[in-house]
């Protein structure tokens, strides 16, 4: 991948010497409006800076499913999205920056970042803190995003997988449904969506009518690593449901307390 590392090319003492140099000063930023490379828009509590560059459908789907997503937190309120994007762009070409703002347009302290090349994530997680420090923003923390495009539906006693599939299909639009038989007759369902946003909305819809799936049914975020090995054993319900009974190991219970970043995704309207 052709990436230009400005910070890398400089000598080691560069950081100390030119701490306050701003890269944005003299040339026009590609992120500033009006721009030919990026579109900026705001939906509810999120400001988007999104690349206008045409990319392949496969890559876009992959990116939409939160691949290579980076979570930035600790952003001071007065820092605009553009300057974060400027700094982040030093590592590679940005696909999207989702910058959470208040009604005044100030930062809510966190943002999500994706590069067009998802593999840059690992590098960025290492490099970005240093870059932020160089730009006098040492308070910004960088880590991998825990957003996912999968939900887990649990504790649906007495409802057959076929029924669950039918009910879900009537309620929400999902990409894939994976059922796992935890012990005989008891299933957990992994609902896979195209992107995190869809999952967020579907979760809200699902929560509204959760009682349809039984008294104790719950929906939680599935944060297990991407393609789990378990999936081989699971029954996939894509177009038609075939249920085989196979005994799989019991899954480890996940953090019930989900990270705040996930709930904040929806913006203000979430309860």
């Amino acid at each position: 991948m052709n990436i230009y590392f400005k910070a890398e090319t400089n000598p080691a003492g560069w950081v100390a010497d030119q701490q306050h140099q701003s890269l944005i000063q003299y040339r026009r930023s590609p992120f500033e409006f009006p721009s030919t490379q990026y579109e900026s828009y705001q939906e509810n509590g999120t400001k988007y800076l999104k690349s206008l560059k045409p990319i392949s459908d496969a890559l876009r789907d992959e990116l939409n499913a939160c691949t290579g997503e980076i979570f930035l937190s600790g952003i001071p309120p007065e820092i605009p999205a553009e300057s974060i994007a400027e700094i982040a762009a030093l590592i590679g070409e940005i696909y999207i920056l989702r910058y959470k703002v208040t009604f005044s347009g100030n930062s809510r302290g966190f943002a999500y970042l994706q590069y067009i090349n998802p593999t840059l994530m690992q590098l960025a997680i290492i490099r970005l803190p240093a870059l932020f420090r160089q730009h006098s923003l040492p308070m910004i923390r960088v880590r991998q995003s825990r957003n996912s495009s999968k939900l887990l539906l649990k504790k649906t006693y007495c409802i057959s997988p076929q029924n669950v599939y039918e009910m879900l299909r009537n309620l929400i639009a999902f990409d894939k449904l994976v059922g796992r038989e935890i012990f005989p007759g008891y299933f957990e369902y992994q609902i896979i969506f195209k992107c995190n946003e869809e999952a967020v909305h579907a979760r809200r819809d699902l929560l509204r009518t959760i009682s349809k799936f039984g008294k104790n049914a719950i929906v939680v975020w599935d944060t297990s690593s991407e393609e789990t090995d378990f999936t081989k054993d699971f029954v996939r319900c894509e177009n038609n449901v075939k249920v085989e009974t196979k005994h799989t190991t019991f899954l480890l219970p996940r953090d019930s307390q989900y990270s705040e970043s996930m709930t904040a995704e929806i913006g203000f309207l979430e309860l």
Binding site: Y41, Q42, F103, S104, E270
Partner: protein
């Protein structure tokens, strides 16, 4: 010499007071103590009560006349239990106790620590308003302009915009001005290559979203590109947007905290829709626009109107022009409007023979009322009125009418006399007038078949006779009174009679509650098969979601669409043709009465102009619409010509706050004189004083931090303040529920509709029982709301929602609860966005609900939040004392006033405390009555009532001698003196001196935490981790929780359990989905079998070509089915055996031209429990549950024996059998009309 002058002066002052009409007066604190004693002596001589008073170190003498309602003879006492004293003491011994550092002198710094002046967090249009070039989108513009009704005016409009800075465009709804006009401007700007930023202000949020989506669709873009919207908490916008839809309240919010010059800098055009409605915030916006025009030479203001009275806008702006859009209304238009008299005639001609059979049944049983205690009371009042004829007796009756929802035409249960008959008999003209003004019916006959008129004639009083004869038709002139069955009959006739072509119907209702009722009646009508099955019912109001709105606009093909809508329909044009408009001609608004200070949600007629506008409501230009108005023709001429400005009579608290924040340096009253419609001065004054009292403004009318926070919580200031306290005192959830209930209609209100008298009394007693049950003896109305909400949510959690109707009350209750749930969710969003709640840290949902389970804490919160609304039960005089100008009484539906007629002094002795906090008060004839009362402990009052700033000068030691007072400064007596704590200029509490000091310090501590919270809640970092300050504060709250609990226990309050169950935020859309289930739905419709589907489709296309189609009511057939377990059936219906049994008998009889009802009954006890409709969907037999209730078989037997109908035997042996149509219909009606008519007993 001086003494003489002083005495002379004092005497004069008192005589002045004596002659005035005030009941009590405060005499200023400039006197010395010797003069105060002189005051007391003189007052005593005059027989007046007097009392010294201290407020902020200034002493007053208050003198009360004999019957003054504000005088409490015995100063209420507070005695802390030893536990609580200990707790408070320990708290103050802590090293980090703030109050211990110094006697807090309540310096100015206390209110703005670090001298930060209150400032409002800015709201901005997202991404800032930058200049943006208009872009060409030829195809999009073309596709839009092709169907745009404004097309012929395009050039004229653009020229006019170019010519003048202020343009008023007047035209009908059908022109869709607020979408067409901005599109032309964008196109024009793109051609001229200029910048263009248009702000278009809509009336409701949903309209802003709707319009932006509609235009984006035309342009082939996503919302947020060229066309965007931003409203409170929602936006879809980008920097390049040329057209931004918003609402007036949001635009005003953006203007706050920045100068006019800045805020309008990049805006090229501002379009304000619906200015003629004179909504409060639109009027404020116009005033802001006027000043913006002074600094921005190129700003264009375009006002869209639909009224004949537009000149005043020109006058207001002092420039501009009016452009008139002509819509050729066909000449036949006038003849297509029918008033209620016509409607009655039409119905008589066309009436289906069996339409009102059930009503006629009820008429003969009208006199057989349920006798309850209440009726006896009313009887007694009427009797005493008849005997004495005194004003007071009538007043008592009238206030019962108002508060108890006794009908004004109440007939004495023995003599059958109504109040107006008695008044006519007495020949009292004033009384007759009073009664007629309240729409009493002079034509009701008493037992001797005499009505008011004949009585008046017998009396020979000519004026009386004239009065009575002149008011012939007043009965239907009461906007409160609506005959729902008449509306239904009309709809039925329109759909079934051959004289009227079947077509789509729009019913315009006043408000959400009426909408629910009409909806219920409509559903029932459809379900019992009184109208054809091809009916789709929709609801439309301002709080529906966008996708629901879309389905309404689409409608359903090939059937009759019925939209039940509030006045928002005037701005939304459905895609299908509207044939009939049924205009109920009513509106319901919150009104404020400045004399008494009460607010009232009242029905009223709409303006004549609004009637005109509604009758022209079409979906296509020139289409012919028939309009039915439920208002008598003669009333139309009396109605006001144009829309009444909201500012004139709405509660102004939010308006005043908005004004203050818009221009912080002008007085509110001054600013409100510059608006186009001017609010009455006294009204503004009262509101500002009230806001000062609850500390939204400070003494100098500067906005406080509280005011800055409340502006983003879209609810009354008082309720907003309550929420702030709930967050601080960590019991948000329950209080949020209470607030949501208080801000909407009371779901357990006594029924108001007089038109529908039959079951009212039965219903009243039912509601009262329900309230009593929910209150659990706790003596609080607020608990009722909590329990009601909890119960509702528990039922939802159970299983799939049952799609059945129980009765009207239940349906309306469900609807209101859904609304409450919506309000609740919305409020949480607002609190979050205004950063009063955070996502993590000390202000996260978890922490602010730590004390939700403590009922004493919740009560304390209520006291703090609802503060000036406190009153005392005076057990000696047996009445309620409070600080309001009018006398207060407890509303009879309150749990505190359950036996309202019983004298208070006997009952109140058993109350654990004498303090009552109340939610809202409604007007009565001579006193206000309070609703939503809760009894609270005196400690909570001492702790939280009053202004935040109270120092030791408000504590005054009391000499042991008792009746003689001195100030704290010159008393040096024994240690254990009694002190009086003056909370404000009315509340005073007697307590021990040490207790007072203890309380005062705790109080100051609390309020410093309160100020800190309000000021710093915006900076999330301060609350993220526990620091020493937060730890100290949370220790304070823990102590408070314990102390309140101790006090409650000591007073003898009952403690309810499980108060703080966290509710789910999962609204169940029962109401909407019910409409969808019952509505005709072409493909999955019940009567269609899969085999004949293709045939049907063919038929459909055929009928569509014709454009006409006959809709007919189907025949009905009935089956009865015995079930053994009544309770199970409600939960887990289809039981296999039942289905088999039913299917065997019923299925062969299913026919497409018949409705087949299945009635389920069981024998232990003997009752019918459900009515269901048997249908076949794609070949599968199914029972669709319709009505559920408990109806005893005996009831049916009685009616049948009276009407000579033979009844089959309902016993266990017969599983399923055919029931005769007459009996079946009767059972069906019994289910459907439950509580809408009197039971047959």
């Amino acid at each position: 010499m001086i003494k003489n002058i002083v005495n002379q002066y004092i005497f004069e002052q008192l005589m002045h007071f004596k002659d005035g009409n005030r009941c009590c007066q405060k005499f200023s604190g400039t006197f010395r103590s010797a003069e105060r004693t002189a005051f007391i002596e003189y007052a005593y001589k005059l027989g007046y009560n007097s009392r010294p008073f201290v407020n902020n170190g200034i002493e007053f003498i208050k003198v009360f006349k004999k019957n003054c309602l504000h005088f409490v003879k015995h100063i209420p006492e507070l005695r802390l239990s030893s536990h609580s004293e200990k707790e408070l003491f320990i708290l103050q011994r802590e090293s980090d106790f703030i109050g211990s550092q110094l006697e807090m002198q309540m310096s100015p710094e206390f209110f703005s620590p670090n001298c930060i002046r209150p400032s409002i967090p800015p709201h901005r249009f997202s991404l800032g308003l930058k200049q943006s070039m208009a872009r060409k989108n030829v195809r999009g513009q073309l596709s839009f302009q092709d169907n745009c009704p404004l097309q012929s005016y395009k050039i004229g409009l653009l020229e006019a915009i170019y010519r003048s800075r202020v343009l008023i465009v007047n035209g009908d709804y059908i022109f869709e001005k607020s979408t067409g006009l901005p599109m032309y401007i964008i196109e024009n700007c793109a051609e001229r290559r200029t910048h263009c930023k248009i702000i278009c202000v809509e009336r409701e949020q949903i309209l802003a979203i709707h319009n932006s989506e509609k235009l984006s669709e035309y342009l082939g873009e996503k919302v947020g590109n060229t066309v965007a919207f931003q409203i409170h908490l929602q936006s879809r916008i980008s920097e390049g947007s040329n057209l931004i839809y918003t609402t007036s309240s949001f635009l005003l919010r953006v203007l706050m905290g920045q100068s006019i010059v800045d805020s309008f800098r990049h805006i090229s055009h501002i379009i304000v829709n619906d200015v003629y409605r004179h909504e409060a915030f639109t009027d404020l916006l116009l005033s802001e626009l006027r000043s913006a025009l002074r600094c921005h030479a190129h700003l264009k203001v375009i006002l869209l109107s639909n009224s004949q009275y537009n000149l005043k806008f020109l006058e207001y702006f002092g420039e501009g022009e009016i452009l008139q859009l002509e819509c050729n209304i066909p000449d036949s238009h006038k003849s297509n409007v029918f008033h209620i008299e016509h409607i009655q005639k039409i119905l008589e001609k066309d009436r289906h023979p069996n339409i009102r059979s059930q009503v006629t049944c009820t008429n003969n049983t009208n006199m057989l009322r349920l006798i309850n205690g209440n009726n006896l009371n009313v009887d007694r009042v009427l009797e005493s009125y008849e005997q004495t004829g005194a004003d007071q007796a009538l007043e008592t009756f009238l206030y019962m009418v108002r508060s108890e929802n006794i009908s004004i035409d109440y007939r004495h249960s023995i003599t059958g006399k109504t109040a107006i008959i008695i008044a006519a008999k007495l020949g009292n003209v004033a009384h007759i007038k009073l009664l007629l003004d309240r729409f009493a019916d002079p034509y009701i006959m008493d037992m001797q078949n005499l009505n008011a008129l004949s009585n008046a004639m017998a009396g020979g009083n000519i004026i009386c006779i004239e009065l009575l004869t002149n008011t012939s038709n007043m009965k239907c002139a009461n906007p409160e009174d609506l005959d729902y069955s008449l509306v239904m009959d009309l709809i039925r006739v329109l759909m079934t009679s051959s004289k009227w072509e079947p077509g789509n119907i729009v019913v315009i209702v006043a408000d959400y509650e009426q909408l629910l009722r009409i909806n219920y009646w409509m559903l029932r009508c459809k379900m019992i098969g009184d109208v054809p099955q091809e009916v789709a019912i929709y609801m439309l109001h301002k709080n529906i979601e966008k996708d629901q709105l879309d389905t309404v606009i689409e409608g359903t093909n090939d059937c009759i669409n019925i939209i039940i809508a509030t006045d928002i329909i005037e701005s939304i044009i459905p895609k299908f043709l509207i044939n009939y408009i049924i205009d109920l001609a009513r509106t319901r608004r919150m009104l404020y009465n400045s004399d008494t200070g009460y607010k009232e949600l009242a029905y009223d007629w709409i303006a004549a102009e609004a009637l005109e506008n509604r009758s022209r409501l079409t979906s296509r230009i020139g289409a012919d619409v028939k309009c039915f108005r439920f208002i008598p023709a003669f009333m139309v001429d009396i109605l006001p010509k144009n829309y009444a400005a909201e500012l004139l009579n709405m509660p102004l608290d939010r308006v005043c706050l908005t004004v203050k924040l818009l221009s912080p340096h002008t007085m509110v009253s001054e600013y409100l004189q510059t608006t186009i419609s001017r609010a009455p001065f006294i009204h503004i004054h009262n509101t500002v004083e009230f806001l000062k009292k609850i500390y939204v403004f400070d003494e100098l009318e500067e906005v406080t931090w509280l005011g800055c926070r409340l502006i983003d919580v879209p609810i009354d200031c008082q309720l907003g303040k309550l929420l702030v306290f709930a967050i601080l005192l960590q019991c948000l959830d329950p209080v949020l529920t209470i607030v949501s209930f208080l801000s909407t209609i009371d779901p357990l209100q006594l029924p108001t509709e007089i038109g529908n008298k039959q079951g009212v009394e039965h219903l009243c007693s039912k509601i009262k029982d329900e309230r009593k049950r929910l209150a659990e003896n706790v003596l609080s109305d607020h608990l009722i709301y909590l329990r009601l909400y909890q119960e509702w949510q528990n039922n939802l959690r159970d299983d799939n929602p049952e799609m059945v109707l129980i009765d009207e009350q239940d349906y309306v209750l469900n609807g209101i609860l859904e609304k409450v749930c919506d309000i609740r969710t919305h409020l949480v969003g607002a609190l979050r966005s205004s950063q009063l709640i955070h996502n993590q840290g000390q202000l996260s949902m978890h922490y602010i609900n730590l004390k939700s389970n403590s009922w004493p804490m919740i009560k304390a919160t209520l006291v703090a939040g609802l503060y000036p609304r406190l009153c005392i039960v005076d057990t000696y005089e047996g009445c309620i004392k409070c600080n309001s100008p009018k006398e207060l009484a407890i509303h009879p539906i309150s749990v505190l006033g359950a036996q309202a007629m019983e004298p208070l002094n006997t009952k109140a002795r058993s109350y654990p405390s004498i303090w009552i906090v109340y939610g809202n008060d409604i007007n009565r004839i001579n006193c206000n009555s309070t609703r939503c009362c809760s009894l609270v402990s005196p400690l909570t009052v001492a702790m939280f009532a009053g202004p935040p700033k109270i120092d030791s000068s408000n504590i005054c030691n009391l000499n042991v001698a008792g009746n003689y007072f001195r100030t704290g400064s010159n008393i040096h007596k024994k240690e254990t003196t009694v002190a009086v704590f003056y909370v404000d200029d009315w509340i005073e509490i007697r307590m021990e001196h040490t207790t007072a000091q203890l309380l005062l310090k705790t109080r100051q501590y609390f309020y410093s935490a309160y100020m800190n919270f309000l000021q710093n809640c915006g900076s999330i970092d301060k609350w993220r981790r526990t620091n020493s300050f937060l730890a100290a504060v949370s220790r304070l709250f823990d102590t408070l929780e314990r102390v309140f609990a101790f006090e409650d226990q000591a007073c003898g309050f009952i403690k309810p359990l499980n108060i703080g169950l966290r509710p789910k935020a999962v609204p169940n859309k029962f109401i909407n989905s019910f409409n969808a289930v019952i509505s005709w739905n072409g493909d999955t419709s019940m009567q269609r079998e899969s085999t004949s589907k293709r045939l049907d489709l063919k038929k459909k296309t055929h009928t569509c070509l014709d454009g006409k189609r006959d809709f007919v009511c189907l025949q009905k057939q009935f089956f009865a089915v015995y079930i053994s377990q009544p309770d199970l059936i409600f939960r887990k219906y289809p039981q296999e055996w039942l289905r088999d049994a039913v299917a065997k008998v019923v299925e062969p009889c299913l026919r497409r031209d018949r409705l087949t009802f299945v009635i389920l009954y069981n024998k232990n006890p003997d009752q019918f429990c459900m009515v269901a409709l048997a249908v076949k969907i794609f070949g599968v037999f199914k029972l669709q549950e319709y009505f559920k209730n408990k109806i005893y078989i005996n009831e049916l037997l009685k009616i049948c024996s009276r009407q000579n109908i033979c009844v089959p035997t309902f016993n266990e042996k017969r599983n399923a059998f055919y029931v005769d149509a007459a009996v079946g219909k009767l059972i069906l009606d019994l289910f459907a009309f439950r509580n809408n008519w009197l039971e047959y007993n």
